[in-house]
Each structure stands twice: as structure tokens, then as C-alpha cells.
């Protein structure tokens, strides 16, 4: 046992040095896994003991372990690199293959080709030797035929010339072209994957290990989803990919909850997650607590005492017991600084219009929901609470009220709800959310509200700071603007381009937060 650990430690030392010391934890032996060589969970590589034993019949076990570690490290260093790249590659493969399992397989194989080729092009590796002795399925045969061609080695594969020839034309080493390359890759291997599917080969794991999302930490998953939300063109695209990989994502984000009985019932609301992650891309920096003058003087530094200067600041300890100009030292005092009084960020009531004239956030990107989501995100980050009033035809029951909370999922879920009916809000609903601390009000609508006069009157009576964002320009907007012209606590934004909403909203809220720190 000790020998085994020692051997792994020694090999890992060399592999790490070869790859310029990647920040990966020490690998471990996996005594149970028999079918695949490697597994990576939360960055830790596990090597299958039985797999190495099997390989050691044909090659030096030290070289086998070294080759396997090269493969794993190369995945970490080159491809997929991060979750957003992984999701992007999967999305492109799915576009071509239109099947979840086949797309996952194609993505995995593509990442293997890239990572291994990167490794072979930059380092001396025993990886080709490992591939020469590995047990192969149809896809493995084809890929090893490709390796023979693009690495210039003999792996003992016969056949698959056409597939290998077509695959060898792709620029695997050019990261910028990966999204295009994987599409071509998927197209070429599609027929092989279909054959694999027919004979149940898709259920057999990749001998070098599957590319589970559990290799990412929960922070990496959050960051990856944030990035991916920014890259996709529609919420539907995000939803499709996230729903496909939902189980794996949940398992990676909250690995222990399955055991708590949350497994099968858990689900991600991909639409809500999309706006949540997208809003995080526009997050405001939280301003640090300001410093202010304390009024008290404290000894700051020594300066030579001169005639005419006060005696009380003389420091006898550094003056050699003498009172002589130029030799005697005195303390120079300065006013101290301390943390100032913290002014709390007010809570916010978000009024969001989800009537039929607004975009359905689940069908296409709703800038209204995104704007509201950004505002919520900003308030929550500043330790405030948010209440949501989502309205359409409120009188006919078309409204949702979420009382003040810091529960992100609940907030975004309420923001994303779409009624699609008429537009009438109830002032008593808004009033029910008011508190003694005068929360801010954030309204986002196209202003085509049937009882707009009532709302104007309400704002005129209240002292809350109001940010009103409207989409488009119409008669109602003009009425609202005219009526609110004299109110200093109401800021109105006209949005020409929908894309501007997050910027404008954040810009203004930023002012609020910054002005809140002035004394």
C-alpha cells in the first residue's frame, strides 16, 4: 500500500513539473472503478487501480500512470478549461446532433482530442503508449486512427481512414475556432455515434473517463453559468442546455443534497437562473465603508523642537533629557481617521409590468426583467431587502406580491412570472409593501397602464425615491413625465434601445448608493 502511494507521489511530482506545476491536489487511487482509467471530482484526479493493472500487462505501470496523469492534467490546463467553454462546446455539438447523449459523447471525445493533442505537441508523454494498449469501442477506434494521422505515431489501428482523414483537417489547437471545429467534428462522427447508439455503445463509458461536470467546483459552476448566460442569444438557448445538464449541475453544485432526499425532486428553473446569472454580469461594486475625521489628535511622528514651540509635546524619551533646539524631539500630532457612520442602503420595492405588451421573458430576452434583475442584484449586494410586485391586470387577479426578502431565487422567480394580460395595478398592493423606512421604488413598464393617473397621484403623495424606467415612447409616458417633472425624488428613464436598460438602471442606482455615503 505504501509503495503504491509512494510511486504515485513520485510520478505526480514529475508530471507536475513537466506541466509547470498546475494547481491541482495530489491524485488518489481508486480501488473500485474498473471500467474507466480516470475520474476527476472537484479537481482531484482518481486513477483506477485495476485499469493500471490491466495496462501493466503491456507496458511499464509507471509510464501508464504518467500517461494517464498527462491526460487528466491536460484537460485541466487546456480543454475544456472552464465550465462556460464546456457548455459552449456542448451547445454547438447539440446543434448538429440534436440528441443529448450523442452531443455529450461528441463533446467529451472532442475535448479528449484537443487536450491530448495539446499535450503531445508540447510535452514528452507516454500517452500514445497508453492508447496503443487500451480497449476500444467504435468511436475509440476512429479517434485512435485520427491520432495516428495527426500525431504521426502507430497505435495499431486499421481502417477508419475516411473518418480519420476528415477529422485530421480540423484545427484542434486553435482555441478561437473551437466552436466551429466541434460542429464539424460532430458532423463527421455523427454516423459512428449512431452506430454506437444502435448497439448500446453510448452507454459504455469513455475508457479514459467521462467528462462529468463534477470536475468543477461550485464557484466555477456559478461563474461558468454567469458567463454562459452572457454568451447565449436567447433564454431558450440557455434553458435547453441547462435543462439537459440539470442533474449533473445540481450534483456538482450541491453534492450532498442528493443524500438528503432532494435528489430526484430537485430541479433548476432555467429561465429564472438565466436572468439571475445574466444580472450578475452587470453587478455593481459594493462601496466600502467610508472613513471620516475623528476629531481626536494622536502623536504621528517626531520632529526637532525649536524655540517658540510648545513644551507639552516634547518627548523626553528621545531627547536625551535635554532641552536644546534641534536635538530635543517633539511629537507632531495629526487628526485620526475612523470608520464613519454607516448609512444603510434602503430596501427596494420593484414594480414590474408583465402585461401582454411586454416581452415574455421565457420566450425571448426581456430587458425589463433583466433591468429589474440588475436592480435587485444591486440592492441585495448592498445588504438590503427586495419586495416585488409583478402586475398585469391586477384587479382580475393578474398580480404576484413577494414581501421583503433576501431570497434570490424567490425574487427572480417573481420577476420572471409573465401574465400577458391587461395592465392595471392596485395601489393598495404597493401600499401593503411600504414600511416606515421609506423603501426605494423601482418601476419598470411601458407605461401603458390603464390607471396611470392613480399611480401618479400615489407617487406625488409619497417621499420614496422612485426610479421609473419605461420602454418606448407614447402618450402615457409623456403624461407621466409631465406629472413627475417637479418631483425631485422621481427619476425617469426613457429607453430608446432595450439593450441600454441595464446600464441606465445601474448608473442611477449607483448614484443613489454613492450619494448615500455623503455626510
Amino acid at each position: 500500500m505504501e509503495d503504491k502511494e509512494k510511486t504515485l507521489r513520485e510520478i505526480w511530482k514529475d508530471v507536475r513539473r513537466k506541466h509547470l506545476f498546475p494547481e491541482l491536489p495530489h491524485p488518489i487511487w481508486d480501488e473500485q472503478e474498473e471500467r474507466v482509467a480516470l475520474d476527476i471530482k472537484d479537481k482531484r484526479i482518481s486513477i483506477s487501480e485495476s485499469f493500471v493493472q490491466e495496462l501493466s500487462q503491456f507496458m511499464d505501470p509507471v509510464q501508464a500512470i504518467s500517461g494517464l496523469l498527462d491526460h487528466a492534467v491536460s484537460h485541466y490546463l487546456h480543454c475544456p478549461w472552464d465550465l462556460s467553454t464546456h457548455l459552449r462546446l456542448y451547445r454547438e455539438a447539440k446543434k448538429v446532433l440534436k440528441d443529448k447523449q450523442m452531443a455529450q459523447k461528441a463533446t467529451g471525445y472532442f475535448m479528449d482530442v484537443v487536450a491530448d493533442t495539446m499535450c503531445i505537441s508540447q510535452k514528452e508523454s507516454h500517452l500514445p503508449e497508453v492508447y496503443r494498449h487500451i480497449r476500444r469501442g467504435i468511436m475509440d477506434e476512429a479517434l485512435h486512427a485520427l491520432y495516428q494521422k495527426i500525431w504521426g505515431v502507430d497505435l495499431g489501428v486499421k481502417g477508419y481512414e475516411e473518418v480519420a482523414r476528415k477529422l485530421s483537417r480540423l484545427p484542434y489547437l486553435d482555441r478561437k475556432k473551437w466552436t466551429e471545429t466541434i460542429k464539424k467534428f460532430a458532423k463527421i462522427v455523427q454516423s459512428l455515434l449512431e452506430v454506437e447508439e444502435k448497439f448500446g455503445g453510448l452507454n459504455r463509458p469513455n475508457p479514459m473517463g467521462e467528462h462529468s461536470l463534477q470536475q468543477y467546483s461550485s464557484e466555477e459552476i456559478n461563474e461558468g453559468l454567469k458567463q454562459f448566460a452572457k454568451e447565449v442569444e436567447t433564454p431558450g438557448e440557455f434553458k435547453e442546455i441547462v435543462e439537459d445538464l440539470q442533474e449533473e449541475l445540481l450534483e456538482a453544485m450541491e453534492p450532498n443534497e442528493r443524500g438528503m432526499g432532494l435528489g430526484p425532486g430537485r430541479s433548476l428553473d432555467a429561465d429564472v437562473l438565466y436572468y439571475m446569472k445574466l444580472a450578475e454580469n452587470y453587478s455593481l461594486p459594493v462601496r466600502k465603508m467610508p472613513l471620516e475625521k475623528s476629531g481626536a489628535l494622536y502623536p504621528y511622528q517626531h520632529v526637532p523642537w525649536e524655540v517658540g514651540m510648545p513644551f507639552r509635546d516634547i518627548d523626553p524619551w528621545t531627547s536625551f533629557g535635554k532641552i536644546m533646539p534641534g536635538i530635543t524631539q517633539m511629537w507632531q500630532r495629526r487628526e485620526g481617521e475612523m470608520f464613519g457612520r454607516e448609512e444603510a442602503t434602503p430596501d427596494c420595492i420593484v414594480l414590474i409590468d408583465s402585461s401582454g405588451s411586454m416581452t415574455n421573458p421565457r420566450q425571448s430576452l426581456s430587458y425589463a426583467v433583466l433591468g429589474a434583475a440588475c436592480a435587485c442584484d444591486a440592492y441585495l449586494r448592498n445588504d438590503a431587502q427586495v419586495a416585488v410586485y409583478n402586475f398585469s391586470d391586477a384587479k382580475a387577479g393578474g398580480s404576484q406580491i413577494l414581501p421583503f426578502t433576501r431570497h434570490r431565487m424567490a425574487i427572480y422567480k417573481t420577476l420572471c412570472h409573465y401574465f400577458g394580460g391587461g395592465t392595471k395595478l392596485l395601489i393598495e398592493d404597493i401600499e401593503s409593501l411600504q414600511t416606515r423606512n421609506n423603501p426605494d421604488i423601482f418601476l419598470i413598464t411601458d407605461m401603458q397602464i390603464t390607471n396611470l393617473e392613480t399611480l401618479i397621484q400615489y407617487f406625488n403623495e409619497k417621499n420614496n425615491r422612485v426610479t421609473a424606467v419605461h420602454i418606448g415612447d407614447n402618450e402615457h409616458v409623456r403624461t407621466f413625465r409631465k406629472s413627475m417633472a417637479l418631483r425631485k425624488n422621481v427619476a425617469i428613464f426613457s429607453v430608446e434601445k432595450k439593450e441600454d436598460i441595464p446600464k441606465i438602471v445601474l448608473g442611477r442606482i449607483k448614484e443613489y448608493f454613492h450619494s448615500a455615503t455623503r455626510f
Binding site: 503531445i120 494521422k149 495527426i150 483537417r169
Partner: protein, 231 residues
């Protein structure tokens, strides 16, 4: 003082060149030349971004295409990739289907391989004029639906369409064979002088003027009808 980079000293930073890099470089070079040739053809032939199908223009465009690919070393994979580029790439600012089809046909007719398969069902765009002047000894298999003037001026080659064709299929063909597994559009075989067209599905209409050749539908001769009586 200890050098913090000492351990890196023994590491080789030499990068090997893999065969992959040579293959990709050569491929990119060929693709660049193909795209350049096509854009030059479009520039010359389609001055106003409108291209009308006239016999003289088709002949002229084909001659220009042949001239531009004369010294090009390529294979069937390059042709397939070029079709992919025409379909979706942003390297080609405008894809005008007539000249594009003629250019692809010129590439096919002058390729080293005698049997060429193009998987067109993966593409969004419709390709016209494919199989134009396909010479004797060449077999072109098109998988998926294709546009108009497919197999026009066929010159002895064998064209198989695994799908449907548009209008004017085999227009002015001289010899050779066209097989269509599904339907064909209007004016099928117009002005054909020789050869055969076999359609497994429906023929919307047969050309009004045929100088020769035969058209079959589901194995039954439909044109010329009087010939059937003679047989």
C-alpha cells in the same frame, strides 16, 4: 538568494510540430485559394449582385471558374468543406447560388477522384447548377435536396440525387445519366440532347423542347412518348 525559477530550468520548452499542423496549414491554404477564386468569379460575373441564367453567361462563368482552379491541388474533402463555407461561413460575404453552383461543379469536374459524395442535407442553403457538365467517368452523389439546373449540360457523367431536385433538371444535357430518388420540378430535361433521367417520385412537368434523350418516371418511360410506342 535562492532562484525561485530554478526548478523550471530543466524543462524543455521546445514545441514539436505535429503532422496535424502541416495538414491544417495546407488545408487552410487551399481553402483560401478556393474562396479567393470564387469571390473573383462573383466579382467578374455578378457586377450588380444579380445573376440572370443565360446560356452565354453560364458558359462564361464556367470557363472563368475552370481557369481560376487550374493550378489548385485539392481533393473531395476540400470541395465538401468549401460547400460548408459557402453555406455558413462569414469568410464569404455573399453567396450567389448560380455562380456558386457553377464554381463547385468546376471543382468536381476537375477533381482527382472519380466518385464524389456531397452531404447537402446538412446545409441551410440550396445549391443550384450542381453536376453542371459532369464529364464521363465521374459519379456525383448528392445527399439531400438540391435546387434548379441540377445536371444541366451533363456530359457523360452519372449524377445521383438522394432527394428532390428543383426546376430545369438536366437542362441541355448531352449524355450520361441522372437518377433522382424523390421528385423533380418543372421543365425537367428541357433542351436535352441525349442521356437519361430517372425520377423515382413525381415529375412536376417535363420540358417542352427535347432534342433527344429519355426521361423515366418510376421505371416507366415518359419522354419521348412516341418512342415508347415504337418499342
Amino acid at each position: 538568494m535562492r532562484n525561485p525559477f530554478k526548478e523550471f530550468g530543466c524543462l524543455s520548452v521546445e514545441k514539436k510540430e505535429l503532422p496535424l499542423e502541416r495538414i491544417v496549414r495546407a488545408r487552410e491554404e487551399v481553402m483560401g485559394q478556393m474562396i479567393h477564386g470564387y469571390l473573383k468569379l462573383v466579382e467578374e460575373e455578378v457586377k450588380d449582385l444579380v445573376w440572370l441564367v443565360e446560356h452565354s453567361r453560364v458558359v462564361k462563368a464556367y470557363s472563368a471558374a475552370v481557369k481560376s482552379i487550374r493550378d489548385l491541388q485539392y481533393d473531395v474533402d476540400d470541395i465538401e468543406e468549401f460547400c460548408g463555407e459557402l453555406d455558413s461561413s462569414n469568410k464569404i460575404p455573399y453567396m450567389i447560388s448560380g455562380p456558386a453552383g457553377i464554381y463547385v461543379s468546376a471543382l468536381i469536374n476537375h477533381a482527382k477522384e472519380d466518385r464524389i459524395v456531397l452531404r447537402l442535407r446538412d446545409y441551410q442553403r440550396t445549391f443550384h447548377f450542381l453536376g453542371y457538365r459532369l464529364p464521363e467517368g465521374k459519379t456525383l452523389i448528392l445527399q439531400g435536396d438540391v435546387g434548379d439546373f441540377v445536371g444541366a449540360g451533363l456530359s457523360g457523367g452519372r449524377l445521383v440525387v438522394e432527394g428532390s431536385v428543383g426546376n430545369w433538371c438536366g437542362a441541355g444535357m448531352m449524355k450520361g445519366e441522372i437518377q433522382i430518388t424523390e421528385n423533380s420540378g418543372q421543365n425537367t430535361g428541357e433542351w436535352m440532347r441525349g442521356g437519361e433521367i430517372h425520377v423515382e417520385g413525381r415529375i412536376r412537368s417535363v420540358g417542352k423542347t427535347l432534342f433527344g434523350g429519355r426521361i423515366f418516371q418510376r421505371g416507366k418511360l415518359v419522354m419521348p412518348q412516341d418512342l415508347e410506342l415504337d418499342i
